[in-house]
């Protein structure tokens, strides 16, 4: 059964915090989480949650209401009081977090009877950090899946145990911009950590916050190395990044592992997409149409 399901493909998520991020809202993150859950159950004990109380009502893979999640006995997940009340399941409470959302307090539960559920999560990075710490240190559940935007990664990336999937819905209309985005992410992923290299402080430029096109003009003249917190702080095109990398060495203080790009193609065949992408390293990181047979 394990082979048919392909659970072994996700072995690298064991003991890691994994973000399921996407190129847009409704990009199919929850659908991918639903795909992962039965496979992860075969591998290890884990917990799952999302970021915020979701306003994302539609799932772009189907264009239908956002998919609910089927939870099995023994699953550990985060939701909030009102969503748990709506569910047909039965749950043990493991922790009640003090922060209030519009749908009540955030509650970490363990499923006692299988159910359809909606998950919820914290509104900010500091709460997310506290929750992850509680799951991993107090409950000793080391594997955590987070259905959420990549810009929330910073707080946990410093632990060196965080990674992400990047979910893309590719259509004829967005193929160029999506490929550009994939290239930027991959290019940033290849950048080394600050601690891996010896640096000359005189020529080091530490940039705090978002790095945009405008930030390029602010780089001091004698700079050789630019340091940023992590790749989520970059908001420039692939071409601009290429130019920047030619002129400067770039380093991050935190690094995230890229588990893969989940590519859902619409009206585009895989070969055509690969031809457009034209980058073997990135293609090797792509999982194409995981739901297609």
């Amino acid at each position: 059964m394990q082979n048919a399901m392909g659970a072994e493909n996700f072995e690298e998520l064991r003991d890691k915090v994994t973000f399921i991020s996407g190129n847009s809202k409704n990009s199919g993150k929850t659908t991918f989480l639903n795909y992962l859950l039965p496979r992860m159950r075969l591998l290890t004990e884990f917990a799952f949650l999302t970021i915020g109380v979701d306003g994302e009502r539609k799932d772009q893979i189907f264009g239908t209401d956002k998919p609910v999640i089927e939870t099995e006995k023994g699953d550990v997940f985060l939701s909030c009081e009102n969503l748990l009340n709506k569910s047909d399941g039965s749950f043990s409470i493991l922790q009640v977090f003090p922060w209030r959302t519009v749908l009540g307090k955030l509650v970490l539960v363990r499923t006692e009877r299988r159910a359809l559920i909606e998950i919820a999560g914290p509104e900010n990075n500091s709460q997310l950090e506290d929750i992850i710490r509680y799951i991993r240190e107090t409950l000793e559940i080391k594997t955590v899946l987070i259905d959420g935007a990549v810009n929330r990664i910073t707080q946990v990336s410093s632990s060196n145990s965080a990674g992400f999937y990047y979910i893309c819905k590719i259509t004829q209309e967005n193929i160029s911009s999506s490929i550009d985005k994939l290239k930027v992410i991959y290019s940033l992923y290849e950048i080394n950590l600050l601690k891996d290299v010896k640096l000359d402080c005189e020529t080091l430029y530490i940039h705090e916050g978002a790095f945009t096109k405008r930030s390029i003009l602010e780089i001091p003249e004698n700079t050789e190395t630019i340091v940023l917190e992590d790749f989520t702080k970059f908001f420039i095109s692939n071409a601009e990044l290429g130019q920047l990398k030619m002129k400067y060495s770039i380093r991050f203080t935190n690094k995230l592992f890229l588990h893969g790009f989940i590519i859902n193609l619409y009206n585009i065949n895989i070969e055509e997409f690969k031809k457009h992408l034209c980058n073997k390293s990135i293609i090797d990181k792509c999982i194409f149409n995981p739901y297609k047979r």
Binding site: M1, A4, M5, G6, N34, Y35, P38, R39, F62, E70, E81, L84, N85, D88, S90, F91, S92, I93, L94, Q95, V96, P98, G104, K105, V107, R110, E112, R113, R114, L265, Y266, N267, N269, N289, Y291, K292, R293
Partner: protein, 540 residues
């Protein structure tokens, strides 16, 4: 004003080491609570003393206690919703950890904090048949009806699972579509099997593909609907159980409120005691007379900054017996730090902390005011001078914060004044400052410490003049020569090394003339300095 005096005294920097563990302690930390009753303060100091002794005798017990303090959850004042059981979970968790702490601390400490546990019966009811202390679940233990309903639901679930598995297997055998590990599949249109109509739902995906989901048939959905009725009944029974547990909790509300108070006091006193040990802090002495005595008082934020920059730090020793103290002295001589140090110690003492010093004696102030150009930038649209005047006017119209100790009519007020009116013209600035000192002098309930560069100020009742000892220029000159080329940071370190940050009563014939020397050390053009020296000589 509290925010301003906290900012000025850099209290935030020190408070990072004050770490209560419970949400009650953390909430209390944010409140910046001051004590105005001597009895309250003495009680706080007594408890800290006892706790320090307990920490030194039983450090391992403290670790155990802190482990449980961290687990204490915040209980809402009233339980708004009982539908999920999250508050019942919290009350149970609170009681479990409270009871554990009560079991660890010895009788002597337990008596001091009234730390007893009388809620075994309630805890038993909230725990049901669960052995896991970290988990709350409305288990079958609470109701036979619930157990029987859940058993029915489980039978249905098993039936649904069997039907589902059978359908999926049929679809696989008949249509070669494998839904065993997928909720849906995306397939090419041309691969849609001829016989697919009844067995699967088909939706358009893109121009070439369709999305296919298994259809489980009417029988499956009929059973699923009957399950919904059972779930409704289950929720009603669960609600009833939660309601009864909630009522049990409410019956013990007074006891739980008492536990909350005890845990708050224990948590904050433990954190204060640990901070006192860390900072070598001592119990403040609170007297009745308006005087402040500091022996080797440490302004911790500066001590830490100096340590980082490898600069020396001089603790403050001064006995301010008069009600009004005027401090003069060199630029960079430590006047502002002296003011900050006094305020820092006073705030700590009045918040029930021990004070980092060898000795600190003071009085309770019902009001603390800060006057001076404190914020380098202000957003109010006022000039620095305007803001000083506004602060002063406001302070004069303030109502007492609480009844003072001792005499009911006495309202002790502390004024910390940092170079009042320094940004206006010297004649009017000095006049205003003299007037302010005169007002302090006339008001018997005011204790003031002010710094100034003004000279030839008049003598007044209950007012004494002090001076920062300043730069030992002779020693400095032996060390420094013009060819000694050093950067600004090194120059500041030099000033720091040769500056005596002590304070002493002023001999009025002595005058401070360190400004030019400091300017020289900092590298000001020697021509300008020589001209300034010549100018002073001519004036004198």
């Amino acid at each position: 004003m509290t925010e301003k005096i906290f900012q000025y005294s850099e209290m935030e920097s020190y408070m990072q080491y004050y770490s209560p563990k419970t949400p009650y302690g953390l909430e209390n930390k944010q409140e910046h609570k001051f004590y105005y009753e001597l009895s309250e303060l003495e009680k706080s100091y007594d408890l800290i003393e006892s706790m320090i002794k307990y920490i030194s005798e039983s450090p391992q017990k403290i670790d155990q206690i802190e482990y449980h303090l961290i687990k204490i959850p915040y209980l809402e004042k009233s339980i708004e919703s009982i539908s999920t059981g999250s508050e019942i979970f919290n009350v149970r968790k609170f009681l479990i950890n409270y009871k554990k702490i009560a079991g660890i601390i010895p009788v002597g400490i337990s008596d001091l904090f009234h730390f007893s546990f009388f809620s075994d019966e309630l805890l038993e009811k909230l725990s049901g048949d669960q052995s896991d202390e970290e988990v709350f679940y409305i288990s079958d233990f609470y109701s036979e009806d619930l157990a029987s309903l859940r058993s029915e639901i489980n039978i249905i679930d098993k039936h649904l699972k069997d039907v589902k598995n059978e359908k999926i297997l049929n679809i696989f055998e008949k249509l070669n579509l494998d839904f065993r590990f997928h909720d849906f599949l995306v397939i090419n249109e041309e691969l849609i099997p001829e016989e697919a109509d009844e067995a699967v739902y088909i939706e358009s995906y893109d121009n070439q593909s369709v999305l296919v989901k298994p259809s489980f048939g009417k029988q499956y959905y009929d059973v699923l609907n009957s399950r919904k009725d059972l779930i409704e009944k289950e929720k009603k029974i669960e609600f009833k159980i939660k309601k009864s547990l909630h009522d049990e909790i409410n019956k013990e509300k007074n006891k739980i409120d008492e536990y909350k108070k005890n845990i708050l006091q224990f948590d904050t006193i433990l954190a204060k005691a640990k901070l006192a040990i860390k900072s070598n802090a001592v119990r403040p002495e609170i007297g009745q007379n308006l005087c402040i005595n500091l022996e080797e008082a440490v302004f911790v934020p500066l001590q830490e900054q100096n340590l980082q920059k490898n600069r020396k730090y001089t603790p403050l020793t001064a006995r301010f017996d008069q009600r009004n103290i005027v401090i003069s002295g060199s630029n960079m001589g430590g006047k502002t730090i002296l003011l900050k140090s006094v305020l820092f110690c006073q705030i700590l003492a009045q918040q029930g902390f021990f004070v980092p010093s060898r000795r600190f004696s003071t009085v309770i102030f019902q009001e603390i005011n800060l006057i001076g150009d404190i914020n380098q930038s202000n957003n109010s649209g006022l000039s620095s001078f305007g803001e000083e005047i506004l602060n002063l006017s406001e302070s004069q119209s303030n109502e007492p914060l609480s009844k003072p100790c001792g005499s009911p009519n006495k309202r002790n007020t502390l004024y910390i004044v940092d170079e009042f009116a320094r940004t206006t013209n010297s004649v009017e600035g000095k006049a205003l400052y003299c007037a302010l000192l005169n007002w302090f002098s006339d008001n018997g309930n005011i204790f003031s410490i002010s710094s100034t560069h003004q000279e030839n100020l008049p003598n007044m009742k209950d007012l004494s003049y002090w001076v920062m000892k300043g730069l030992d220029y002779g020693k400095y000159k032996q060390y420094y020569h013009k060819d000694y080329n050093c950067d600004l940071n090194e120059r500041i370190s030099l000033i720091n090394n040769f500056m005596d940050y002590g304070v002493t009563p002023q001999n009025k014939s002595e005058r401070n003339r360190d400004a030019l020397k400091i300017a020289d050390i900092l590298g000001l053009n020697s021509k300008i300095i020589k001209y300034a020296e010549k100018y002073i000589k001519e004036q004198e």
